[in-house]
Amino acid sequence: MPESNSSQYVGSRVKRREDPRLLTGRGRYVDDIKVAGMLHIAFRRSDYSHARILSIDTSAAKASPGVVEVFTAKDIEGEFNPVLAQSRMRDYQPTIMQILAADKVRFVGEAVVAVVAESRYLAEDAAALVEIEYDELPLVTDPEQALINSSAKLHEQMDSNVLLQREFNRGDVDEAFYGASVYIKERFRFTRKTSLAMENRTYLAEYNSAEQALTLHTTSQVPGIIRDILVDALDIPGSHLRVVAPDVGGGFGGKTSLYPEEVLAPILAKKLERPVKWTGDRIEDLISTSQGFDEIIDAEIAVDREGRILGLRADVIGDVGAYSIYPWTAGIEPVQVVSFLPGPYKIENYHGRVRGVATSKPPTGPYRGVGRPVSTFVMERLVDMAARELQMDPREIRQRNLVQPHEFPYKAASGIVWDQSGFTQGLNGACEAIGYDGLRRTQAQARAQGRMVGIGIASFAELTGIGSRLSASPGMPINTGTETASISVDSTGGITARFGVTSYGQGLETSLAQVVADELNVEISQIRILQGDSAAVSHSTGSYASRGAVLGAGAAILACRALDQKLKAVAAILLSSSAEDILIRDGVFSGPGSDEKLTFKDLAKAYYSQMGLIPAPIRNEIGELSATQMYDPEWGTTSSATHIALVEIDPDTFKVKVDKYVVAEDCGQMLNPMIVDGQVHGGVAQGIGAALYEEMIYDEQGQNLTASLVDYVVPSATEIPRMDVVHLDLEKPKTLGGVRGMGEGGTIGAPAAIANAVADALAPLGQQVTTLPVTPQRIFELVQAAKANQ
């Protein structure tokens, strides 16, 4: 047990240590880094969604000022080993990553030619001069068409466009539906989105030919994963390949995958023996960064007279785009829709089927919430629709179906096991915080005046901090269940803690310093945190899937405990005491055997530098004053929350205004409540964006109609309401430190809460919300349809 400190950092609103540099323009993002002799890459990308490449003429580009070299797929043949995302899923078909498109292109925006020049301006000038002749191939843009039509295949060598399929079964669904008093069947659509981190993807590769060593600076959430795959792809030993993610300007899932440009930059740096950088622009981001969601969900629910859910059925088509993304596979998004669909409810009879279909669009990958924003949207809509049929309050129907406090651990219909979590407390907490009953009365008055006002509830659960017993993506053969912390005291007493989990805005540098400071009983300013570098620890997969705090804090605690033993053993000798009696308080060692007190500096100097104080055999045994530990939470832990939104639809513009928003959540022990609130705010804002504004639109030719921020609309300060976040103080989970992951929850709950609120506002018109985003145009159409029905 750690001794008590005069200050306890974990659980308090410690100011972020990363802020002073980020606030004063002294951060260090990849594009801020310049090295001598650096060249710049610009791409010529495909204008067609599905076409054969007939010829490429690079002569004009090569003659353009400042151009060093121009590369097509042929020019880099044999320079790398093929990359493909494997999975143990049955019936799964992987695709081979195209670093530059070889024979054909499979989405608009796929890179075909790379121009390397002395500046980004000159590279872009030359890229425009490349001439590519295409022969258009049959369109594969509609996932339902692509599913049945095997004549138009995106990948010729494959059996079909179906990259994966999976089913979940529990109980007897037919039987359950037979006995139902209310039965709802609906087709839902959750359209394609994008992470839209404010920093675009950027890669800088440097190759040192004398040492045959490569360094890649990348805007990545997962430098460890990138290092491991590049070792295989480029045949460079891991000891010679370093992947660094310095300050990263947001990620949200869009920076968790390996990208062709990220492989190409190292290839070209090696080939040209010059550092090369690619700085993506926003248009490239919108057409080539992994996209999110995009499913069609046919779902049915059966409910008895008391509102109890008897059965649930869903058939999901996921439009996964052209390639199965590395390392997550095309399964990560759509499979989670089906595995999480039963949500926090007791459902004994479930059948879910999902098929991931390749289309000629950019690949989908993880985007904040992954699958669960969609499953929660569908489930919460179904529950509300059933409640409406039964004339039951939405709160009541949830209360009756949620897993109750005494029923944990609960094995959900898809096999996920929920450990103890505040499902019902979240619902009650949110209702209380927003004043639910009063709000219903206010709504009734507003309705009586003809105003379109709605209240929407969404309850959900998520599995966070997943350990090695599960994979973060179905069937993926990569261990995503452990993380490493390495903490050392140097010869001056300096404490450095190295982590594999990375930060791209979540403030982990601060949160992890809080954990280490508490565990070692030292002043927080004494601790330096290093992360975002594959060389920091031997193995890491980075930050995604709400794991950073859970696994990072767990590893920190284990490493601190091991280090603590070493430090106390040394202190015991220096203070003529025994290790068990040594106390560390505010960074000072003391013991009953002596009045002397030692700081970390005193102890380190005595141990490392002053001859003769520590007997050689003991030093040989203790070794360096450092400890490296891995943490594996095995299964992970359940975070849960209920969101409630109050919205009003403008009768003239059909714009939705969110007037109130409340979140009540159980995220276990908070490391830093200020940071936790910030994560919730940001997550909810993205969820509101997904519900009301954001949509990646592809026309039937596969052209992206939303390739600018004018067309892909994300919310600004005027579209996002003030949010009230309630943290439930409940029994802590069994993870080390009692931490649950919470980075994604905001985005999981918000689309459903907003959809239910808009549906509630439209309820008097008898219209349903089945497609997100529910834009003014879509609301207008619903209102028109209601008028036509009258």
Binding site: L23, G25, A197, E199, N200, G249, R282, S716, A717, T718
Partner: protein, 159 residues
């Protein structure tokens, strides 16, 4: 393409004379020629606001401005608002209120905030949100940024 133009301007209080291509964006000029990488580029088409900085005291999109357009002007970038150990009031409030996460939108937010605080009364929360609506932040959900600007307003006005 080598019809270089000479520009002379003041950047963060220092006189700068350079020869530049007419097409060079102000954002690229600052980042690449002067190594002032605090100015961030998020879209290069005038929507995200990440590149916002102050030209003669007014907030300006440096991705929509050519370097030659600021010939003779006074440019202030985020580097000059304050230093890590002596931050400006607005910077301090951003830290206190947790008005930043990844920090990428932050330089633009700070420039916009300075401009707003100088020119408008910013009486209500709506006024602040309206004023910030040309700057996208993907991380914070805006609430803490709005609070930071309100806190800065209160502090500046009470002095």
């Amino acid at each position: 393409m080598s019809n270089l133009k000479t520009i002379s301007l003041t950047v963060n209080g220092e006189k700068v004379v350079r020869q530049v291509e007419p097409r060079l964006l102000l954002a690229d000029f600052l980042r690449n020629e002067l190594n002032l990488t605090g100015t961030h580029i998020g879209c290069e088409h005038g929507i995200c606001g990440a590149c916002t900085l102050l030209v003669n005291g007014d907030s300006v999109r440096s991705c929509l401005t050519l370097a030659i357009q600021v010939d003779g002007a006074e440019v202030t970038t985020v580097e000059a608002h304050g230093k890590p150990d002596s931050m400006s009031v607005v910077q301090e409030k951003f830290q206190q209120c947790h008005g930043l996460q990844c920090g990428f939108c932050t330089p633009g937010m700070l420039a916009t905030a300075e401009d707003l605080l100088n020119k408008y009364p910013l009486v209500t929360e709506e006024d602040i949100r309206e004023g910030l609506s040309g700057n996208i932040c993907r991380c914070t959900g805006y609430q803490n940024i709005v609070d930071a600007v309100a806190a800065a307003r209160d502090e500046v006005r009470s002095q």
